[in-house]
Structures are given as structure tokens and as C-alpha cells.
């Protein structure tokens, strides 16, 4: 069975640009969450979506937005990119919105020049 898939795997942008990252959850999983992982740190929660609705948001500015589609795939958008946005962006999926384990993709490595 396919795990969580993310695209692209790597991306290079310049300051001020906008970026869209994509995630396909494990088949049957309805919850998708996004995390940002800076080098040497643990992942930090950005958003959770369940059944196409935003369930929660972490401490990130409004430049970060996301959505979930009817097939449960998801997109993360970041506007007006800053150097500090350089990180590994991870998508995780789970069966439901409660305390079930989240399974992660291998992420998108975003570099801002």
C-alpha cells in the first residue's frame, strides 16, 4: 500500500515568491496535518484538516494557508516567502481526527535564496 506522498521533493524559491506544496494521504485516511521541520529541530504543527475543514492551526502567520480536497489530498500554500521559511515541510495523515497515529510522508525540502 502506498504511504503518504508529497510533491515536489525539493524546491528552490527566492524571497517574496509564493509556493504550493502537495500531499496525498494514505488511502482511507481522512485527516491531513502539515508540519514544518527546521534543521536540527522537531517538527512544528502548522495545520490540521479533517473532512475538508480546518480543525486547527499552529502559531504560524497568515502567509501560510492550506486546503483539503474531496479526495482528501491537501495543498499547503506559503506567500511572500522569507529566508526563515527554509525547512522540510511534512504532511501526515491518520484515520480520524482523534488520537490515532499520524503517518508522515518524506516531505518537501524548501530552500529560500
Amino acid at each position: 500500500d502506498a504511504g503518504v506522498t508529497q510533491s515536489p521533493t525539493h524546491l528552490i524559491k527566492t524571497r517574496g515568491q509564493q509556493v504550493t506544496l502537495r500531499c496525498s494521504p494514505i488511502s482511507g485516511h481522512k485527516s491531513v496535518s502539515w508540519y514544518q521541520q527546521v534543521l536540527g529541530q522537531g517538527p512544528q504543527f502548522i495545520f490540521q484538516y479533517y473532512e475538508k475543514e480546518e480543525r486547527g492551526r499552529g502559531n504560524f502567520p497568515d502567509r501560510f494557508s492550506a486546503r483539503q480536497f474531496p479526495n482528501y489530498s491537501s495543498e499547503l500554500n506559503v506567500n511572500a516567502l522569507l529566508l526563515g521559511d527554509s525547512a522540510l515541510y511534512l504532511c501526515a495523515s491518520s484515520w480520524d481526527s482523534n488520537n490515532q497515529p499520524q503517518h508522515f510522508g518524506d516531505g518537501t525540502r524548501l530552500s529560500i535564496l
Binding site: G42, Y50, S94, N98, F104
Partner: protein
């Protein structure tokens, strides 16, 4: 605010040398404590979920335990392929959504 502290930051072991990794946490009502393994350039790989104090889970050379304040990941007779960063995360009851709060991880290196 929920917090997770992992120690040590890095650990070097010889193959076969058993040890333990520590995860101390503070949370407003624990929904679950999760252990993940992360290899360089990869996403975290799920290992265990623990829900209540006293619970234990095992998988091959790994055993996770949970108390009201901390969790331990015991590694018995490790092999070089166990080298990775081990992440601990908690999910608290103070949010209505599924948010994991991670520690900074323990980098484990097992030498042959």
C-alpha cells in the same frame, strides 16, 4: 502549553550495547504519546503509541514505556541499522484537534 524534552541530544553506542532514551513531557491531559524514528532526508516513521501510565509496547529491539511524567525508549542489543534520530511527541486534550508537540530528538549512532 504542552512541552517535550528529550535526552540525551546524541548517543553513541557500540553494537550490542543496550541503553535508554528519555522523553520528559508536560501536557494538559495526555491523549497519547508517540515515538517516531527519522532517517536523514526522510519523514518520521511511526513506532509506538502509548496512552496511559504503566503501558508498554515492544517491537524487535525496541521497548517503549510510559509514566505520568516521562517515557523511555529502551534499545536492547542495538545494531548499526538502528542508527537514526528518535523523536517523541505528545498530543494533549487541551485542543480540539490533532496536534503533535515534538521534542528535538535523540540522534543515535550505533557502531559495529
Amino acid at each position: 502549553e504542552d512541552q517535550v524534552t528529550q535526552s540525551p541530544e546524541a548517543l553513541r553506542l557500540q553494537e550490542g550495547e543496550s541503553s535508554s532514551l528519555n522523553c520528559s513531557y508536560t501536557v494538559s491531559g495526555l491523549r497519547g504519546l508517540f515515538w517516531y524514528r527519522q532517517d536523514p532526508g526522510k519523514g518520521p516513521e511511526f513506532l509506538f503509541t502509548l496512552y496511559s501510565a504503566g503501558e508498554e509496547k515492544e517491537k524487535e529491539r525496541l521497548k517503549a514505556t510510559l509514566t505520568k511524567k516521562e517515557s523511555f525508549l529502551h534499545i536492547t542489543a542495538p545494531k548499526p541499522e538502528d542508527s537514526a534520530t528518535y523523536l517523541c511527541a505528545v498530543q494533549g486534550r487541551n485542543t480540539g484537534f490533532q496536534k503533535l508537540v515534538f521534542g528535538t530528538g535523540t540522534r543515535l549512532l550505533v557502531s559495529p
